[in-house]
Subunit: 224 residues, 2 copies
């Protein structure tokens, strides 16, 4: 699993190369923690960036939606896409305005997506979306029907040309600024779950499951 | 301020039109709460989606970075961009796998960015970035020098062609699924600040300011 994903002209960082990370394990850990990706593509020379949920299954990034979705139909034609996933980890407050920054982990993926059309594969993909959002939920809910499967377009984007970019840690100030009388440091940021909100039509004998009451995305290790 | 931003072919939602919102106040409130945007553009037929900080100043979205930035130099040439900002508000757990969803607020902006080159305007823009991240910080830190201003490229994207898309509230299940014995509802999600982390080189007599200890982005009103 410690392979490096193809480093191409597009994924080679031109500036701040120390922030580039190409380790497959790092890339996958970011993809597995985040919930939303931004899909970029061009139609007739116009660029669109659309936010959507996703899941990773092995070495593919999966996205899905209605079979009537303009975006998905366009992408299934095999056009080039760029999918970016970003986790914002904190604000970096330096002693000068100029050196303020953000801590983040992001992944960029380039390639062409293909439609997943075989019914079993499609079902596996839908399971992957469900498990990505709430592990264990899939086995409790009503499974997709044949009609629902037909109404869903699933696309797979091979994780072949991808890179991660990461910034973490303290601000980096100009040497002469360290003596300034101003606080400097990091304000960490996390996506945190609040108390679950029952569906108004929930019957009173159904309790909130643990995975909803204790929901967390944080899988960070290390520096905190 | 209750104007409607131009509704064009690109910003007209083809599906789920009830999720489309075109009110300038709604669009601006989303832009003012979020911290990161995803900038999409094409170079030689290839699409890129790059995450970056931003600020709103009046009717412009501002982005900035090093004058050597490949992206910013490309964009300052006046090419078409699509900038998308997404706030993830919650997971929507339905009784069927099919009807799971997410609550979110997102904004898409289309247009051409122009470089802000006049020194005073550039300084105002840098102040806007600072105020967008931490209100009040600007007046405490060292201001940008002339050299730093020269080394910074600031781009403004007019907020002329933009739209918001919003989902909120409970799951919507098939009528026959409401009798299933499974919990349904929303898990709210928020970007939450943790305890500030002092810069290791901070001198011991400088305390954490209130805006760092009590940092919050949440400006939601209404349904919670």
């Amino acid at each position: 699993m410690n392979q490096v994903i193809n480093r191409t002209e597009r994924t080679s960082l031109k500036r701040l190369p120390k922030r580039g990370e190409y380790n497959r394990e790092v890339i996958y850990s970011i993809l597995d923690e985040a919930l939303v990706c931004h899909v970029g593509f061009a139609v007739e020379g116009k660029t669109f960036v659309v936010p959507t949920g996703y899941a990773r299954e092995g070495d593919n990034l999966l996205i899905h939606g209605s079979s009537a979705s303009r975006m998905l139909k366009t992408l299934s034609g095999g056009i080039e896409v760029c999918v970016t996933v970003t986790l914002l980890d904190g604000l970096v407050l330096a002693r000068s305005a100029f050196h303020h920054s953000m801590n983040y982990r992001s992944v960029m993926i380039f390639g062409k997506a293909f439609a997943v059309s075989e019914e079993n594969e499609k079902m596996k993909a839908l399971r992957a979306f469900s498990e990505h959002i709430v592990k264990g939920r899939w086995q409790e809910v009503r499974s997709p029907t044949s009609k629902e499967l037909k109404g869903t377009l699933v696309l797979a984007l091979p994780l072949q040309e991808a890179s991660a970019k990461i910034r973490n840690g303290s601000p980096v100030d100009d040497e002469t600024d360290y003596e300034l009388n101003v606080w400097a440091g990091e304000i960490p940021l996390q996506l945190v779950a609040g108390a679950p909100i029952d569906d108004p039509r929930l019957t009173s004998d159904i309790n909130q499951p643990d995975y909803a009451r204790n929901y967390t995305r944080v899988k960070r290790s290390g520096n905190e």
